[in-house]
């Protein structure tokens, strides 16, 4: 069953929905923002206590035996109240990479703290404003007792709260991909938190002559590429699930507004031009939903995730952009005020869309995957 959640999944989804509605409603996010905060540290602690940071990690290192789709389900619920969570960066990306690429010793060293939420991880990958995992200028030079790393990373989600940084570099000699796991407090690592339109955590990270010993090298060459690809596909699917959740919220909000708001003596939802726009959006949303559900289901299988991930992120991103545009426009004057939540969702959509490849990027990938171009 790809399109019907099982009982466990339903229970998790519901408890996540309750958590975010009760503990981190959108009004709470506004308060955090007014205080200059990007997240609620206590709530992150509580999420860890709920075991969410441990989802799909091996039980031997403190993981809980829940399918990986669980993370996507929780993230989707978080997106509905625009709550920041540590799951994307710490569970899916950082722990996911260590689990996929690390040695047993490395897993034992790092995963228990991540699973427990005692430490948080983040991935320092991209170096340019538009996602491109093939263009890595960060170089690691082999030294007598390890490696010396130099580079600059952008778009590091949760970077400023990470205790562990997963760093993608290239071997200065062989040009092989290298995956490092570094203590974020290592000398030479510097982190610049950014004030982003969605008020969620994002940072740039510099690596200036950072020293790493052999134990910090997770994987290299083909093994590193494979692990990174797998984890990025999972992350794209999780981003798609969040985009889709926001599309739903915005669509429902707008539909309700159209049924309630009157102009010229009638509900504006009675205007046929708006009806057709909403109906078209509805078809886009259901198409994207089908792709997202299939991709989330694929997380729990051994299937190659490239095609479902490109499809889901591409469709969900494009749809969310369109829905957010229409949501603002159809709310009219109040749609462009900060008072209404619609604008906050619009900004978050733009962030999620930009991460790990936007719709244009995903379409190009999809074209390659189905062999339209070589």
């Amino acid at each position: 069953m790809r399109f019907v959640l099982n009982e466990d999944q339903n229970m998790l989804r519901e408890s996540a929905a309750d958590f975010f509605a009760g503990r981190l409603p959108l009004a709470h996010q506004r308060k955090l923002k007014a205080q200059g905060l990007t997240h609620d540290a206590d709530a992150w602690r509580e999420m860890a206590e709920l075991g969410w940071n441990a989802i799909a990690l091996p039980e031997a290192v403190g993981g809980v035996p829940f399918d990986r789709s669980g993370v996507a389900l929780v993230l989707a619920e978080a997106a509905r109240t625009l709550a920041a969570t540590p799951l994307f960066a710490s569970n899916l990306l950082a722990a996911g990479l260590i689990e996929a690429a690390g040695s047993d010793a490395q897993k034992r060293d790092w995963l228990p703290a991540l699973a427990a939420g005692d430490k948080l991880g983040a991935l320092a990958l991209d170096e340019r404003a538009r996602h491109d995992p093939t263009r890595i200028a960060t170089r690691a030079t082999r030294e007598a007792d390890g490696w010396r790393i130099n580079g600059a990373k952008c778009a590091v989600v949760d970077g400023e709260f990470a205790d562990l940084l997963l760093v993608v570099a290239r071997d200065a000699d062989t040009q092989d991909t290298l995956l490092f796991v570094l203590d974020a407090h290592t000398a030479g690592v510097s982190c610049q938190p950014l004030s982003q339109i969605d008020a969620q955590p994002m940072a740039r990270v510099r690596l200036d002559g950072v020293k790493a010993d052999e134990a910090a090298l997770l994987a290299r060459g083909a093994a590193a590429d494979a692990a990174l690809n797998t984890v990025l596909e999972r992350a794209r699917i999780a981003l798609a699930a969040q985009l889709q959740a926001i599309s739903r919220v915005l669509f429902d909000t707008t539909l309700a507004y159209l049924k309630q708001r009157e102009q010229y003596g009638r509900k504006i939802g009675a205007f046929q031009a708006l009806q057709h726009r909403m109906a078209r959006l509805f078809t886009r949303i259901e198409l994207a939903e089908s792709c997202v559900q299939a991709a989330v289901a694929a997380l729990d299988t051994d299937a190659d995730l490239a095609l479902p991930a490109a499809l889901a992120k591409g469709m969900a991103g494009e749809t969310a952009l369109a829905v957010a545009d229409e949501a603002v426009q159809l709310h009219g004057g109040i749609g462009v005020t900060d008072e209404l939540d619609v604008g906050l969702f619009l900004k978050r959509v733009q962030v999620l869309e930009a991460l790990l490849g936007d719709s244009v990027y995903q379409r190009a990938r999809y074209a390659r995957l189905i062999g339209v171009v070589a």
Partner: protein, 396 residues
């Protein structure tokens, strides 16, 4: 459970033994067998398959045996259908009788009508066509003006029907006619069964922008139709038509696209992208990918509908998007290929173009038909907005 498993096994064995291998591929264009009094087969396997299925009563598997049906219950019918799909068996024939008017007659027809018409349908011996649309009425089906005046034991029918598929090859028509012009728009409508061989009936094929078509216009000039051919009561035509159109959607979804073989989108797209000018290639590739992703998403949505429906969820909102999405995506795909193919997509006929590209041009033009026929895209969007999204109906 055992019983149904036994049935499944026996169906599977029968199909394996009786469906010729050549009938397990999608039919090439124009190779569908049309039911009717003048059957033509293009190859022996086609006839074999037709006759074997007919003799099983499996043209109409869930009809009572007394009317030539298979006598299967609903569960058995589903098993048969899924086994046919599993083996990729071609539909042995196309028959508007069985799928459309047949079920309506079963439910609402007189005993006499059932006895007279159903067995012929079930044996594929009578070709039926549908007389609903009229010139000038368009999407507003109930705005019809074809008149049927009571005169003794007959109705006298005058008027015209349009968009009637294969009218020129049909034996009978089920038609909506206006029996009472003084009654309300819907209340004055009745349903008649009309023998196409009657005096005063004439047909004219419609030429489309894509060329010849199976659509016809039908003219009635003082056509006498016995009162016994009235289905239900006078004024019940609209109710019957709605019941019938529910079968249309089922029939459509059952047969999917099998009978509209187009070009292979991806094959052709790959070939054309490789030949495109370098300046335009990436942009055209992006369009191809968008089409392919939309199609992929649509297929996933069909699967989702099936699965969620099976799990007891309400999938009516999803189903309401199908006609719109399918026809619009089809049009966009052909527009994309046509742009991609440049001057190679401009061929009408004759030498100088390869066959696939000639087909492309026709299919591109043909694609315009599907966003209009069977409820325009605008009507589909109205339905979505009002019935699915619950927005107020302002009559617009």
């Amino acid at each position: 459970m055992n019983e149904i498993n036994d049935f499944k096994a026996s169906v599977r064995a029968w199909l394996e033994a009786n469906c010729p291998p050549s009938m397990r591929t999608p039919p090439p264009e124009g190779e569908m067998v049309l039911a009717g009094s003048r059957l033509t087969f293009t190859q022996p396997d086609q006839q074999l398959w037709f006759e074997r299925m007919r003799d099983q009563g499996w043209f109409a598997p869930d009809w009572p045996r007394e009317y030539g049906g298979g006598g299967l219950d609903a569960r058995q019918t589903r098993v048969l259908e899924s086994e046919l799909a599993r083996l990729k068996c071609r539909a042995p024939m196309v028959n508007l009788g069985i799928w459309m008017i047949g079920p309506v007659l079963l439910e609402f027809g007189s005993d006499e009508q059932k006895a007279r018409h159903l067995p012929g349908m079930a044996r594929g011996e009578v070709a039926w066509c549908q007389g609903f649309s009229e010139p000038g009425a368009g999407s507003d089906l109930a705005g019809l003006s074809c008149r049927a005046e009571h005169d003794g034991d007959d109705y006298v029918v005058n008027g015209s029907k349009i968009w009637t598929s294969y009218a020129d090859r049909s034996d009978w028509m089920y038609a909506l006619v206006r029996t009472d012009p003084t009654a309300g728009k819907h209340a004055g409508i009745s349903m008649l069964l009309i023998d196409m061989a009657s005096a005063g009936v004439s047909t004219r094929p419609i030429e489309l922008i894509s060329g010849k078509s199976h659509f016809c216009q039908v003219f009635f000039d003082n056509v006498r139709v016995p009162v016994a051919n009235l289905v239900g009561a006078e004024g019940e035509g609209w109710m019957l038509a709605k019941a019938l159109l529910a079968h249309e959607r089922r029939a459509m979804s059952k047969f999917g696209d099998n009978n509209v073989p187009g070009v292979d989108f991806l094959d052709l797209a790959r070939r054309l992208v490789a030949q495109a000018d370098p300046d335009s290639r990436a942009v055209l590739t992006d369009r191809v990918a968008a089409c392919a992703m939309d199609e992929h998403a649509y297929k996933l949505m069909l699967e989702r509908t099936h699965e969620a429906g099976g799990a007891g969820q309400d999938v009516s909102a999803l189903v309401a998007t199908f006609k719109y999405l399918h026809s619009e995506q089809n049009k966009t795909r052909y527009r994309t290929l046509t742009a991609l193919a440049g001057t190679d997509a401009l061929g009408w006929e004759g030498e100088g173009y390869d066959e696939e590209l000639l087909k492309l041009a026709r299919q591109w033009l043909n694609a315009y038909t599907y966003t209009v026929a069977g409820g325009t895209s605008e009507i589909q969007l109205n339905i979505l907005a009002r019935r699915v999204l619950g927005l107020p109906d302002s009559g617009g």
